[in-house]
Symmetry: C2
Subunit: 365 residues, 2 copies
Amino acid sequence: MTSKPEGDKKAGRARAGRLKETMKPETRVTMHQIAREAGVSLGTVSHVINGTATVREPLRERVLKAVKMLGYEPNELSRGLRLNRTSIIGMIIPDITNPFFPGVVRGVEDVAYKHQFRLVLCNTDNDPAKEATYLSQLKSFLPAGILIIPSQDSTVTTIASGPPIVCIDRRPDNWKGDMVSVANREGAYKATQHLIEMGHRKIGVIAGPSHLTSAVDRLRGLRQALDHAKLSIAPEYVQEARFDRMSGYTAALRLLQLLPRPTVIFAMSDPTAMGTLLAIRELQLRCPQDVSVMSFDGLEQTELTEPALTAVYQPGYQLGYTAAGLLVERMEGLKAPAKEIVLETELRIRGSVANLNSRRHGTGR
Amino acid sequence: MTSKPEGDKKAGRARAGRLKETMKPETRVTMHQIAREAGVSLGTVSHVINGTATVREPLRERVLKAVKMLGYEPNELSRGLRLNRTSIIGMIIPDITNPFFPGVVRGVEDVAYKHQFRLVLCNTDNDPAKEATYLSQLKSFLPAGILIIPSQDSTVTTIASGPPIVCIDRRPDNWKGDMVSVANREGAYKATQHLIEMGHRKIGVIAGPSHLTSAVDRLRGLRQALDHAKLSIAPEYVQEARFDRMSGYTAALRLLQLLPRPTVIFAMSDPTAMGTLLAIRELQLRCPQDVSVMSFDGLEQTELTEPALTAVYQPGYQLGYTAAGLLVERMEGLKAPAKEIVLETELRIRGSVANLNSRRHGTGR
DNA sequence: CAAGTGAAATGAAAGCTTTTATATTTTCTG
DNA sequence: CAGAAAATATAAAAGCTTTCATTTCACTTG
């Protein structure tokens, strides 16, 4: 209550001189200036700003007013230096240009924003060297956590001392930490089953890079489905390709030249499926009348191709969202043993797979 | 445990590893430790690392050896605190999920990586409040520079004291700083000219949000082309929509219900054009026989729609690459007056625009 | 009313680097 | 070879925040 007039000598001294100097426009406002302006100590300003201790109302208000008046914004560097960690989340992905990843990133970003974290994005192009560079440089910023879609042969390892790390989509060799992925094997299994039900027996496959666990799992799902149906697949009907369009295109050309020609091509990603479509057109074939196509990813854009692609849908946004959520838990101190979260996939039947059962002589050959 | 032939080697490596670990325990290595290890002063270590002064060979070597041995990595926070700027480039975009932006981001990232900068990515969803939040939080990290694709009503302004800022793609009100964009007006002009040449007179337009300069410029280009051809366009044939698919879809439905029905719809972005295609299908119309479509963006994915979309191509990657290049120049101290760089667009003719001149009344085929 | 108490405010240290002014060593000149 | 000049190395300060050990304050209680 005692609204003591500022006979307080310190406050008086503080206020006496500096009024004009605070007008300096070139430099950022610091807590010092706030303290001086409000006539309190540095510690008090910090406590007001962070709520780390109770500060009585009159002081609190003076500080807040000064903050507003001088337009103070905390310096995240000093803060990070002191706290030994910043509000940065590092995210390392192969290539934002691959249409599957923006959704993942967006999922992460939404969680990050909600929790007041900033996202630092790095594209590795699947190059382990670039990944390692990014990883160590990221750590120089003392990030609160790291999310990574590992490159092939990733060397990422979990270190007790460092920030928490969550792996997304692919499991690096020897990775024992947290991991969020989609049910690649099951997805491919269901899709293959569907193909078999539709009467397809000669199945061509454009597999993904064999060093990616996601690609390997998809292939395994396909093989299991074939096994269960007592079907087999000749080696030359499985072509490996990168997850991009050109690579899919050339792989598809190879497959389409085989005799007997496959009745369906299962491309293990949307870009490769799009490349397959291109190859089919180029050879003057029709999809799905001459060759069917099954894809994996199921992004929006494959709804408008001709024909719309039947695909295993994997929830990209959800993937990022979930992984970021787990990371946040870790950053908040969750001590549970490593988690492995697997998201479900969903078969989306559209128009690119022909039903060979209902047609006696459909294939134009 | 089954002992393998290589058992001994592995054990040896493991031991070595453990030894190393004991040498660098929980905390990061600091320059202090390097100095002690090498038997020199702190300043000398700094000079060796940054090359800020000549250090005689024997000392230099001792320092380098210590750095390597202890695995020292500079702390970017202390460094940034001291230097008053970090190696961060902040990038603010509307939404990474819009397929036009990944290319831009990638262009930026490639330049950033080359120059040893890190990229902090922020999605504003075109919300000026979110943009402002991001902007001020970004500045708390003392970034070396900022790239921004401004939201509608962006409040971004250039401040002498702050880091250099380059605007991309859209010009905010009152923006007097650097700017890199594409020739929206010219692109739309050429495209409209093409439509006119192909015999189209009833042109429906799905314009972009009227607060985006890029959208406004495109509309202006279209109007100019019509003017020059002494054609006019009724107001109801111009529908405004956001740059996303659903918005394009509903706008297209409105346009297709007009009488007389437009012979072509000029959608001012790929997503809206895709929505238009959807609407056309939904109404059981055919493209391009019944309605033609012209798009703006010309991303790869629109090559595989049915029909492939004729579009004004804008070089997204190049946009990001150029802007980042300019930003780097500024960060290196370039003092020239504000630059405005405009990249060329290119009309990519594919299959979605019918030639009305050569057909008397085309239906079948 | 003095002492005691818990709460509120303070001052200084710490965190890691760069830089400047100073100290020291080396090299060169006469 | 003395002494000056040049080259190198050093210690200390600065940059901004958080935190911890203290001090000060405002009351309560005996």
